[in-house]
């Protein structure tokens, strides 16, 4: 096994284990912190998959901004202390395992996807232009309109969050 593959499985195992801890912890704060560990492990996987810029964004946007928002709301609502376990009854657990098992079986087939390993488009682009420019060039060229629409979406979310969370306008 090459070094990259060993590192990949180390971080993949970390991501899966902490995701499992995230969905089983009783306290929402513990769940949120385990989710942060998952996000960090995923950022490491992104680096191994030639997506260095995305990995940095993952740390800044997800592990930084979004998780702080989650923890802030948990602490604002004073939900931090672990209450009684909130898992659904036996019928709910049975349904979850059935649906989850079928879904995992269906998605597992994706693993067989193979592409000719000779094409390494991204690595070549990054060598020619650098990590950021390889993403920035198509972002402001081919995908300029979706990028601008994203700013509208964020504005709408901003206004919506203020309207929803404010007691009286």
């Amino acid at each position: 096994m090459s070094g990259a593959l060993v590192l990949f499985w180390v971080f993949a195992g970390l991501a899966l284990a902490s995701a499992l801890a995230c969905i089983t912890r009783r306290s929402p704060v513990a769940s949120a912190l385990w989710l942060v560990v998952t996000l960090f492990a995923l950022a490491a996987l992104f680096v191994l998959l030639d997506a260095q810029f995305i990995a940095v964004l993952q740390l800044l946007v997800y592990a930084g901004a979004i998780m702080v928002l989650f923890l802030f709301v948990i602490m604002l609502l004073n939900l931090g202390r672990p209450g009684p376990m909130d898992v659904k009854g036996p019928v709910g657990v049975g349904t979850a395992f059935l649906l989850g098992g079928v879904l995992l079986f269906q998605l597992w087939i994706l693993r067989r996807a193979t592409l000719p390993s000779s094409i390494q488009l991204v690595a070549r682009l990054q060598q020619e232009h650098g990590f950021v420019a390889a993403i920035a060039q198509p972002l402001f060229d081919t995908y300029l309109i979706p990028f601008e629409i994203t700013s509208l979406l964020l504005l709408a979310a901003l206004v919506g969050a203020v309207v929803l969370a404010k007691r009286r306008l």
Partner: protein, 98 residues
């Protein structure tokens, strides 16, 4: 070379997210499981982008923007529900149930 394992890991992560959504009752934990599913999809995008071109990484960028917007609005909704009902347990929030 990492494509197959990465797609497998992302399948497992997505399933864990679905498990969380189906099993838990706390609205905030369910919300975190949705973020987990979004991240599993991001992993798929990045794994395929490695060989198919940089567009997959751009989509991850857009997914992140949508996730940020979704988190802000969703948490505001949870906040409003908590003010109204005093709980975030989804068992007690059944106004839309016929």
């Amino acid at each position: 070379m990492l494509l197959g394992p990465a797609l497998g890991v992302s399948a497992a992560l997505f399933t864990l997210g679905v498990f969380g959504v189906l099993l838990r009752r706390n609205a905030i934990v369910i919300f975190m499981c949705v973020e987990l599913m979004l991240n599993a999809v991001n992993l798929t995008f990045v794994a395929l982008a490695q060989q198919l071109g940089v567009a997959g990484q751009l989509f991850v960028l857009f997914v992140m923007a949508v996730a940020a917007a979704e988190a802000a609005v969703g948490l505001a909704i949870i906040l409003a529900i908590f003010r109204h009902r005093g709980t975030v347990d989804l068992q007690n929030i059944n106004l839309l149930k016929g």
